[in-house]
C-alpha cells in the first residue's frame, strides 16, 4: 500500500471514530439543507430545472464547510497536541503527508455531503411536489465537481492550519464562517434562479475547483517543517 493510501486510510478511520465531528457534520448536513430547501422551494416556484440548479449550487458551500469540520481533527488537533512533529520525522515528504490527510478528510466529508444532498432533495420534493430527475449533469456534479471542491477546501484549510499559529487559526475559523456565507451569496448570484443546471456552469465550477486544488497544493508546498514546528503551541 502506498504511503498516501496509508495516511488517507488512517484519517478516514479517525474521522469515522470522531463522535463530536460526526455529530456536528450530521446536524449541519440535515439542518442546512432543510433551511435551504425552503428558500429554493419559494424561488423555484415549481420549476424542476430551477430546483435542480438550486440543489447543485447549495451543495458546494455545504461541501466546503464539511471539509472544514473534518480538517479540525486531521490537521489542527494533531498540531495542537504535537503528534504532527512525530509524523514529520517519518520517511514521508511533507507534501505527501498533506496529500494523504486532505484525501482522508475528503472521504467522510463527501459521504456527509451525499447525505445532505439526499435530505435536500427529499425536503424540496416534499415542499414543492417537484420530483428531481437524476439527470447526467446533476450526477456529474455530485460525482466530480463536489469532491474536487471538498478536496480543495480540505487542502487549503489544512495547509493554513499547518502553517498558522493557534491564535491565527482561531481567526481563520471566524474568517471561514464569513467566507462560507459569502460563498452562498456568490453562488446564488452566479447561478440565477430559473436558469437550471447547465454544462457551462458545471464546467466553470469544475475549473474553479481544480484551480483551488492547485492553489492548495502550491500553498502546501510552501509550508516548511520549521514553520509547522515553530507554531506548535
Amino acid at each position: 500500500m502506498s504511503t498516501l493510501a496509508v495516511i488517507a486510510r488512517r484519517e478516514i478511520r479517525l474521522a469515522l471514530r470522531n463522535r463530536s465531528a460526526l455529530i456536528t457534520a450530521f446536524i449541519f448536513s440535515i439542518w442546512f439543507p432543510v433551511m435551504s430547501a425552503l428558500s429554493i422551494a419559494v424561488g423555484a416556484d415549481g420549476d424542476a430545472a430551477a430546483v435542480t440548479a438550486g440543489i447543485a449550487t447549495i451543495t458546494l458551500p455545504v461541501a466546503v464547510f464539511l471539509g472544514y469540520i473534518f480538517c479540525a481533527d486531521a490537521f489542527l488537533r494533531e498540531k495542537r497536541d504535537g503528534t504532527i512533529e512525530t509524523l514529520l520525522c517519518a520517511p514521508v515528504s511533507l507534501q505527501r503527508l498533506w496529500e494523504g490527510k486532505a484525501a482522508g478528510v475528503t472521504v467522510p466529508a463527501y459521504l456527509m455531503m451525499l447525505l445532505s444532498a439526499a435530505v435536500s432533495i427529499a425536503a424540496i420534493s416534499g415542499l414543492t411536489g417537484v420530483s428531481i430527475a437524476a439527470e447526467p449533469l446533476l450526477l456529474l456534479h455530485f460525482a466530480a465537481v463536489v469532491p474536487v471542491w471538498i478536496a480543495a477546501s480540505a487542502g487549503l484549510i489544512g495547509a493554513a492550519q499547518l502553517a498558522l499559529g493557534m491564535r491565527e487559526n482561531q481567526i481563520l475559523g471566524f474568517v471561514f464562517i464569513f467566507g462560507f456565507i459569502f460563498l452562498i451569496v456568490l453562488f446564488q448570484q452566479i447561478v440565477p434562479a430559473g436558469s437550471g443546471i447547465s454544462a457551462a456552469t458545471e464546467a466553470v465550477l469544475a475549473v474553479v475547483g481544480l484551480a483551488l486544488l492547485a492553489l492548495a497544493r502550491f500553498i502546501a508546498g510552501k509550508v516548511t517543517k520549521e514553520r509547522i514546528v515553530r507554531t506548535i503551541p
Binding site: G82, L87, V229
Partner: protein
C-alpha cells in the same frame, strides 16, 4: 570549525569502534544465513530484513559509512527571535552508544534534537545523523526513530492500529509479527485492541517507545522517555534502553531530566547550559572524584586515620590522602593502584573495614556546571 568533543575513553581511537564492518553486495553472499525471502529484500541501505539472531549482519555498515559517527554536531548555533539558544555546539556520538544529553529547561536540548531530525534549520554549523542530513532524505529518516514528549499516537485508534500505521509509513516487513513482538516487549499485548485514549500515561509512554523502535532504527532519539512514569515503569524503560543498545546495537540519544536514569544507562554524557556544551565525557570519567581516581578506606579504628595517611602519602601511586569523616580519602595516580594501597595498609597492620571507589554523582556534576552558568561564571 571547532574540533568535535570526543569522550576521553575513546580519544585516539576510531570514532566507529563498535561496528563490525561487514558489507554484503549480493543476495548470494548472505544466503547461507537468512531465508531466501529476507535475502531478496536485503540491501546494505535496508538491513531491516535480516533476523535479530544475525546481529552482526543486521548492523552491517555500508562501506561509505565506515568511520562515520552515528550523530555529529559541528559548530551548531541557533537563535530564535534574536535570542541565542545554541552557541557553537559540537559533539559526536559513536555507533551503539547510549548518549545522555542533559541541561536545564530552555537550554536547547529539544532544539538540538529538532535540528538533528531536520525539523529546524541550523543557524550556523552542520549536523549529521548516520552521515546524512535528514532534512530531505527519506531513506536516512527511515533509519532513525524518535520519541518526543508527545507519543505520536492517536487516542481513538487501538494500540495495534497505531503501530500498524507507523509500520505502513516506514515500510516494516511482516508488521503483524513485529507489532506482536513489541507489544509483548512493553507488556501491552493484552491491551492491543483497546483504544489508546483509555491507556494511562505510563502505558502510552511504553507504546510510544514501541512505536519509536518499530522499524528497528539504527539511531533512536528519546526525549524525556520516563516523564510521567511511575518508578516501576521508569525501570522498565531503563532496562528497555539498555536492551535495545545491547541486543539491536541501536545508538540511543537520550534527552532526560532524570539524572539517576542517565547515570545508570548512558555511556557518554553532555551537559548543555547557557547554549554551550559545559561537559562531555564518559559517565565513569565525569563522576570520578576531581577527575582523578580515588578511594575511601574505612578503618576498624578511626583513631588511626592520621597515622595511616602518613604511611601511604609517600607512596608513588598515591597523590593525596586526608581524613574524611571516619575514613581516609586517598587520590591515586593510577586507578589500578587500589590493591597496592590496600596491601600497604594491611602490611602496616591497619585493620580495614571497607574500601570503596570514591565518585561524585552525576547530579552533583550537573548542578556544578549548571550552577556556574547561572552564576554567570
Amino acid at each position: 570549525m571547532p574540533d568535535l568533543f570526543i569522550p576521553s575513553h575513546t580519544r585516539g581511537q576510531p570514532t566507529q569502534p563498535t561496528q563490525k564492518l561487514l558489507f554484503f553486495t549480493s543476495c548470494e553472499e548472505i544466503y547461507p544465513y537468512v531465508s531466501h525471502r529476507s535475502c531478496g529484500k536485503y540491501s546494505p541501505h535496508n538491513p531491516r530484513y535480516l533476523p535479530h539472531s544475525l546481529s552482526i549482519l543486521h548492523r552491517a555498515v555500508p562501506e561509505e559509512e565506515a568511520g562515520v559517527n552515528a550523530v555529529e554536531v559541528r559548530g551548531l548555533s541557533r537563535s530564535f527571535d534574536g535570542r541565542e539558544i545554541l552557541r557553537d555546539v559540537s559533539f559526536a556520538v559513536g555507533h551503539g552508544e547510549i548518549f545522555g544529553y542533559l541541561g536545564p529547561n530552555g537550554a536547547g536540548k529539544t532544539t538540538t534534537i529538532r535540528i538533528l531530525l531536520g525539523l529546524l534549520a541550523p543557524g550556523a554549523g552542520e549536523v549529521r545523523v548516520l552521515g546524512r542530513d535528514l532534512t530531505a532524505d527519506d531513506d536516512a529518516r527511515a533509519r532513525v526513530g524518535v520519541l518526543f514528549e508527545n507519543n505520536g499516537l492517536a487516542d481513538r485508534m487501538s494500540a495495534a492500529d497505531n503501530l500498524a500505521y507507523y509500520a505502513g509509513l516506514y515500510g516494516v516487513d511482516d508488521p503483524a509479527e513485529r507489532i506482536d513482538e513489541l507489544l509483548t516487549l512493553v507488556d501491552l499485548a493484552d491491551r492491543r485492541d483497546d483504544p489508546v485514549g483509555t491507556f494511562s500515561t505510563g502505558m502510552k509512554r511504553k507504546l510510544g517507545i514501541a512505536r519509536a523502535i518499530l522499524h528497528r532504527p539504527e539511531v533512536v532519539f528519546l526525549d524525556e522517555p520516563s516523564s510521567g512514569l511511575d518508578p516501576g515503569a521508569q525501570r522498565m524503560v531503563r532496562d528497555l534502553i539498555i536492551e535495545l543498545s545491547r541486543r539491536e546495537e541501536m545508538t540511543v540519544f537520550l534527552n532526560s531530566h532524570h539524572l539517576d536514569e542517565v547515570q545508570r544507562v548512558c555511556s557518554t554524557v553532555a551537559i548543555l547550559a547557557g547554549g554551550r556544551i559545559r561537559a562531555f565525557d564518559s559517565v565513569t570519567n565525569l563522576t570520578a572524584a576531581s577527575g582523578r581516581p580515588a578511594v575511601t578506606v574505612a578503618l576498624a579504628d578511626p583513631g588511626e586515620r592520621a597515622r595511616a595517611c602518613e604511611t601511604v602519602e609517600g607512596l608513588p601511586f598515591v597523590t593525596g590522602c586526608e581524613p574524611d569523616g571516619d575514613a581516609l580519602h586517598c587520590t591515586l595516580a593510577d586507578p589500578g593502584a587500589t590493591p597496592d594501597l590496600v596491601a600497604t595498609l594491611v602490611g602496616a597492620n591497619f585493620r580495614i573495614e571497607e574500601v570503596r571507589r570514591s565518585s561524585r554523582s552525576l547530579e552533583e556534576i550537573y548542578l556544578e556546571h549548571v550552577g556556574r552558568v547561572e552564576d554567570g561564571a
